[in-house]
């Protein structure tokens, strides 16, 4: 059997692989952390490895599509497409180093004592989990953490996860993955406060995530008839949960119910924390993610929609793309000299572009006329454009990357335009636009506006708002009576399903163009 020699995180590992196993399968069997978001089908392009020595199967058409010429020249391959023909020496490009909890906000020691009551807020996102320890007595945050959603291996978007969950084994595994992740952080929390003082654990999230967590009704979400209805996602076996998480019987565990269909309680929490509906002034909230949600408050009614923002915003399917995390280039600008000015998350060397970095690159290519507004390279024969970041590091953008991005942008852009059309709110009436989501936090607003991802509002009206769902969940922990106003909010809400909006497809095509949004 071929042996894989792997150098990762400064260590060298030896593992075996059968000839029928792809390198990805061998790595995951050995529980090596490697990015992958399409269960090895070859469309996320995240499972990149670099081959140092050995004989392997030939480059597949999928790899030619997903990798740039420079990546191919360097020996980069997709682990799910490679079968070993001999012993191999390799390195992993995108390790999932985010599978452990990272600090999101620092510890506030003053809030720690034996008498106060505490609670946990959890924002269960498709891509990331955000969790905080909340001091209920003083109504302040003690500390918050962040982790990659370990269910990612079952697919980047919710539908892939729901499809995987058609097998009960997978569904159970997905639940266990989340419980294990929470349990890890509870061990940390146990060192900060007596667990008997932990009174509540509330979870907000999109409907699919909550249904998978509650292990009920999730398969109905594969049927569009349920997408505009309320779906029960309550956790019924609370004591089993308490045991699984290592909590005492004093902790109440509950999911905050979703608004309806694909509109989850994460959006609801965001409405609370941003104060979107607090008076009669018009406000807009856009939460970018694998599924992008948007809510427009017209002063008396709330207009909501949800569109497939596309894992493209999270680097999925983009040759040089990666999710927001260690090594991701999140901002990039071309200064006058030949080198680029770029910012990388963490201390690692640049590994790829996350969504906001891609927005900057596309806006730059448009403004320097290397790319046309219809998404074609100005040099018609070019298949990719290489960006020299420095003397040693270069990135390449392929035509296909632009195409995938354009579609995700068009779905979001068209939905925003339609929200304004259907509600009759003029753009000028908007007092504040809150841009939420991990992708939103690093956006360069002018660039996002130049290519039509954000509406053309004055910069001072736009607020990049972080952790909106987590903050909202904390508010709900302190003021559970707000949950009573849920039905009130529901009564004021109009859900716009873009599948039924007349002329949405024309609007989508218009928004494919990389230009400011047209109203």
């Amino acid at each position: 059997m071929p042996t894989l020699v792997l150098s990762t995180a400064g260590k060298t590992l030896h593992l075996t692989c059968t000839a029928q196993q792809s390198v990805l399968e061998a790595l995951t069997t050995a529980q090596i952390k490697i990015s992958s978001a399409c269960a090895g089908h070859g469309f996320c392009g995240l499972c990149k490895i670099t081959l140092k020595a050995g004989v392997v199967s030939q480059l597949t058409a999928i790899e030619q599509d997903k990798l740039s010429q420079s990546q191919i020249a360097q020996g980069t391959r997709l682990a799910c497409q490679v079968y070993p023909g001999s012993d191999l020496t390799l390195t992993i490009e995108n390790t999932l180093n985010t599978l452990s909890w990272k600090r999101l906000s620092s510890l506030d020691k003053i809030l720690l004592n034996e008498q106060d009551s505490y609670a946990i807020a959890l924002d269960l996102g498709t891509t990331q989990l955000r969790l905080s320890l909340w001091n209920l007595t003083q109504q302040r945050r003690v500390m918050a953490w962040l982790i990659f959603n370990p269910q990612y291996q079952f697919g980047a978007d919710i539908l892939n996860r729901l499809t995987a969950a058609q097998s009960l084994d997978n569904a159970t595994e997905m639940l266990l993955l989340i419980q294990q992740a929470i349990k890890k952080i509870i061990r940390v929390i146990a060192k900060l406060i007596p667990l008997a003082q932990l009174k509540k654990l509330y979870v907000v999230g999109n409907t699919a995530m909550l249904a998978l967590l509650a292990q009920k009704n999730y398969l109905s979400l594969l049927n569009p008839t349920y997408w505009s209805q309320y779906l029960d996602c309550t956790i019924t076996n609370v004591s089993a949960w308490q045991t699984a998480l290592g909590l005492t019987a004093t902790t109440d565990i509950a999911t905050v119910p979703p608004l309806a269909g694909f509109i989850g309680s994460d959006l609801l929490a965001g409405l609370f924390s941003t104060g979107l509906m607090r008076d009669t002034r018009c406000r807009l909230l856009i939460d970018f993610g694998t599924n992008s949600e948007m809510a427009l408050w017209d002063g008396s009614k709330l207009w909501i929609s949800s569109v497939p923002g596309g894992p493209a915003f999270e680097g999925c399917g983009i040759s040089c793309g990666m999710p927001v995390g260690e090594g991701a280039i999140y901002q990039i600008a071309a200064p006058s000299s030949s080198n680029w000015d770029y910012k990388v998350i963490g201390h690692s060397k640049p590994l790829g572009l996350c969504g906001s970095g891609l927005v900057d690159v596309i806006a730059h290519l448009i403004s320097t006329r290397q790319l046309q507004r219809n998404g074609r390279f100005t040099t018609k024969e070019a298949k990719e454009i290489s960006l020299p970041l420095s003397a040693t590091v270069a990135l390449a953008i392929k035509k296909q990357d632009i195409d995938i991005f354009q579609q995700a942008k068009a779905a979001t852009g068209a939905a925003i335009v339609q929200l304004f059309k259907q509600s009759g709110v003029p753009l000028a009436a908007i007092e504040t636009l809150f841009v939420c989501g991990a992708f939103g936090q690093f956006l360069t607003i002018e660039n996002a506006q130049a290519i039509g991802l954000l509406p053309p509002l004055a910069a001072e009206k736009i607020q990049l708002y972080q952790n909106s769902a987590l903050k909202g969940c904390e508010l709900l922990l302190s003021r559970p009576q707000s949950l009573g106003s849920l039905s009130e909010i529901r009564a004021k809400t109009t859900l716009l399903n873009m599948s039924y909006v007349l002329n949405f497809d024309e609007c989508f095509v218009e928004n494919l163009y990389l230009q400011p949004m047209q109203f």
Partner: protein
């Protein structure tokens, strides 16, 4: 003069400039070019040129695809209405989005491409049950059922393509009616069309035109 029109029209289509393309065509009609010549000598060759350029360099730019097919079908519809004698159609195709799927765009492009190749298209719409596909094929005497699915679960669903296959099998229609599929999931997994028991698939609308035309020709032999 026709060569000049062809070059100008091709350029407009390539640049996804619909207004320009339509103006060129209207100008040509005003100058006395017959609607037949416009369809057979300008629009269809332009479509075939696109097929060629796409198959040589497999880059798919959606805005361009969409515009090209929309322009082509718009021009074809307009011209066919003006034909002296009714045109010879290559064959009839039943087109729709599979059960549970509401995505319309891919289907529209495919429809535009097919119509510009003189293939008659009966568009059933979105969220179509398997039975309806087969019934429509029988009513319209169509030789191809084309099913668009944009999501993995609607492509794989037992109520989708698999069900159409089952009905065709039970009714002994497999020699008369072929199934062609397409949409995002088939691009992710090029073997998926076999798993859902379709006869063929195509990556984009323009290739779909080619694949379906070939399939119809083969069946007519």
């Amino acid at each position: 003069m026709l060569t000049k029109i062809i070059t100008a029209y091709n350029e407009a289509v390539f640049d996804t400039d619909r207004d320009q393309a339509l103006e060129i065509i209207h100008q040509a009609v005003a100058e006395g070019i017959t609607p037949e010549d416009i369809v057979f000598k300008v629009v269809i060759p332009a479509m075939e040129l696109m097929i060629k350029s796409i198959s040589e360099d497999f880059d798919a730019n959606l805005a361009q695809h969409f515009m090209a097919s929309q322009i082509a079908s718009q021009v074809t519809d307009e011209m066919v209405a003006k034909f002296q004698t009714s045109p010879h159609v290559v064959g009839t195709v039943i087109l729709g989005t599979s059960h549970g799927d509401m995505h319309t765009l891919g289907k529209r492009i495919v429809s535009g491409c097919l119509r510009s190749l003189m293939i008659e298209v009966v568009d059933l719409g979105v969220n179509i049950p398997a039975e309806q596909f087969v019934e429509a094929a029988l009513t319209h005497n169509a030789s191809v059922i084309a099913i668009s699915s944009m999501m993995m679960h609607t492509a794989r669903s037992e109520l989708g393509c698999l069900k159409v296959r089952e009905i065709l099998k039970n009714k002994n229609l497999e020699d008369k009616i072929k199934i062609v599929v397409g949409g995002a999931p088939y691009r992710w997994d090029p073997h998926l069309y076999q798993a859902v028991q379709a006869d063929a698939w195509a990556e984009d609308g323009i290739t779909a035109g080619k694949v379906i035309k070939e399939l119809i020709m083969e069946m007519q032999k």
